[in-house]
Subunit: 129 residues, 2 copies
């Protein structure tokens, strides 16, 4: 059985994907893949997602240069969630978020408020030129 | 504005949630929350998810004893994904997966196959008695 068929794609043909930085363990971002995105990711060794807003393959870094090199692809117990172990390329320190931050998860709940706790490392207007 | 209203709940009133072990950085599992689950999680300092299969609140550990103590709740840039930093209680070494493994992400893609790379730490029949 094809390994791609062992993934339980949802009704839209997608699965959730978590990208984790291999060297630090930091959770960088969350996105989606369709079958073609996963096949390409494995083939190229770089993260290829499916953009739900644009309804097309999204080669992570195609605009920003912030490409993710993929070391491992993991599948969860239910077969319906993927975890990538990546090296986040293109900037040092690494930037995964379109806001210019290291991680997309930069807001922390504190006393009933969401508080930004990670700095912008590069202005998005300089990333997306 | 209520911090719960700043979360972008999907059409089913849910958001995806990633649980990460604070001490190790390991990604343990992926689940969903509704508004009430998130409110309870913050109030109790333990992970409460929404079970889509049972369509009710799921107090993680309610059957297994594998409760998750929650240290941080993070929100992503788009406001539609949560990240919990947790301590996984109930067994040493810690078990988050219903299969008795440390993490749900125990299968790795290797040469076109999914290969299990994490041991069962406790037999599920002994966990769910």
């Amino acid at each position: 059985m094809d390994w791609l068929d062992q993934v339980k794609w949802d009704s839209a043909g997608l699965v959730p994907v978590i990208a984790q930085e291999q060297a630090t363990g930091d959770v960088l971002m969350f996105a989606w893949m369709d079958r073609e995105a996963l096949r390409k990711t494995a083939e190229l060794g770089r993260a290829v997602y499916f953009s739900r807003s644009r309804q097309r393959l999204w080669f992570k870094g195609e605009e920003s240069g912030h490409v993710q090199q993929v070391h491992e692809i993991r599948l969860d117990c239910d077969g319906d969630v993927l975890l990538l172990k990546v090296t986040q390329l293109g900037h040092d320190p690494s930037i995964a978020c379109h806001t210019g931050r290291h991680s997309c998860f930069f807001r922390r709940q504190e006393g009933g408020r969401w508080v930004g706790v990670e700095p912008v490392l590069k202005n998005p207007s300089e990333i997306y030129t």
